[in-house]
Amino acid sequence: MAYSLGIDIGSVTSKGVIVDGNEIVAHTVIPSGMNYREAANRLRDDLREKSRISFEDIRSIASTGQGADRVEFSQKKIDNIRCCARGIRSVFESVKTVIDVQGQLSQVIRINEHGRVSGFVVSEKCAAGSGRFLQIIANILRVDLNDIGELSLRAQNPVTFTTGCAVFSESEAISRVSEGFSKEDILAGVHRSIANKISVLVDRIGMEQEVAITGGGGLDIGLIAAIEEKVGITLKVPDNPQIITALGAAIMAAEV
């Protein structure tokens, strides 16, 4: 057996995928915590447990993401944009555009007929368009991240966040609460402002159907709905949006 392993160490979560050719044989997602090196090792152990595959059988290993350099056992490092493109293609062959919403940034990637990156744009160095923004707001509203989507879909009149800064929006959210806005409306507001930022990225790089969403953002139905409304498309959502980049890394690891 010639397995290959892809490791994606993100700012919030770390993901690992073992593939056999294009087949996923094992995958896992863990919080990155405060030390990327440790995160990488924990991932490896976790995967060993889950897959019962001994590391001798793993021929090739590639790492990507924020902490790519911290993965001691990685054989090559690959930029996460390429990984994401390859990953999504192995799941949806028809996808030409990916919206990748990560913990600290968002990016839009165009993919050509050969599955290569034909264009990409990354959000500015600002967390406002990222999942972290949601985390912060969820935190002050004291709602579980997993419930955000549901709640936001129930919004009556979403609030508008005109300010850019994610942390700054915190106090804005607080005052909205005291003005009597519901959690639902505030969350929907956050989703909208993230969707706005993302539509700017889409405008900048253009898009071609079909469009998929990956990264943590792909788990948030509220955000998905907001993006679909703002950009005017239906998004294809993989079963495990978070692991797509790691999957791509695993696939590319095998290539010479």
Binding site: S11, S32, M34, N35, Y36, R37, Q66, G67, R70, Q104, K125, C126, A127, R132, I140, C165, A166, V167, F168, E170, S171, I174, V177, S178
Partner: protein, 270 residues
């Protein structure tokens, strides 16, 4: 946080309560007020005049008057340090620099745009480190060689912090770096007022010896810190409240007041 200070006619502080601030300001105000009154064993009716200040000043149902935290701060700080010319206040929501002369506010600068220059910066990051904010000061004192945090945005500072940890940098050195970061940001802003002694540092962060040192270093002047750096605003409001009350009494004008009549003043700092 929500603070109450009750003073008597001799400016003596009779009751101090510091409670949390949540989204529901109004609720908080009543809670903390209740505690303050119990604390000094007087009925609410005996509160003569009530000034609310700070972020949620409009949300204090029983306040007779609202005055901004800037004016109140100047007054409060000048009460504890009559010689103060520059006051730096690093709160959880914002950071301010005040230029003060003879207890009067002359000029000010303020940052409420970006968390990086406020107490929030340390709160967010210490939470991430799993360290209580109270412990930051003592820990940073143990730092051998502090790191430099270059990101301005709190969230990216967090990222920097993690990569330092991944490189095996000690937590102490990182915390010291965070203290420098916040100090340099705040001082850079306050410098616009041309910092003159005496310089007073207030706000929750002033309890953090590490930050006090960092500020002292960046300013290059001695930094004075009140015994209770959290209540300067509330205290100032109380003093201003008393003045309003006495002034009215002199001119025997009747002050507009929420239903109450008695002789102390109370104040809120939310």
């Amino acid at each position: 946080m929500t603070k109450v200070v009750i003073i008597d006619m001799d400016d003596a502080i009779r009751s101090v309560i510091i409670g949390p601030t949540g989204p529901e300001h109004r609720h908080q105000a009543n809670e903390v007020m209740k505690a303050a009154l119990e604390n000094m064993q007087v009925p609410f009716e005996r509160i003569e005049y009530c000034v609310a200040t700070g972020y949620g000043r409009i949300n204090v149902p029983f306040a007779d008057r609202q005055i901004t935290e800037l004016t109140c701060h100047a007054r409060g700080v000048a009460h504890s340090f009559p010689g103060v010319r520059t006051a730096i206040d690093i709160g959880g929501q914002d950071a301010k620099g005040l230029k003060i002369k003879d207890g009067k506010l002359l000029d000010f600068v303020m940052n409420d745009k970006c968390a990086a220059g406020t107490g929030r910066f340390l709160e967010v990051l210490s939470e991430k480190l799993g360290i209580a904010v109270e412990d930051l000061g003592s820990m940073s004192m143990k730092s051998q060689q502090k790191v430099t945090i270059s990101s301005t945005c709190t969230i990216f500072a967090e990222q920097e912090m993690i990569s330092y940890l991944s490189e095996g940098t000690s937590v102490e050195d990182i915390i010291a770096g965070l203290h420098d970061a916040i100090a340099s940001r705040v001082v850079r802003m306050v410098k616009r007022l041309k910092i003159e002694p005496d310089v007073v540092l207030t706000g929750g962060v002033a309890k953090n010896i590490g930050v006090v040192h960092a500020v002292q270093e960046t300013v290059g002047l001695d930094i004075h810190v009140p015994d209770n750096p959290l209540i300067s605003g509330a205290l100032g409001a109380a003093l201003l409240g008393k003045e309003i009350f006495l002034q009215a009494k002199e001119r025997n004008e009747t002050l507009e007041r929420k239903k109450r009549q008695l002789e102390d003043t109370v104040t809120f700092y939310t």
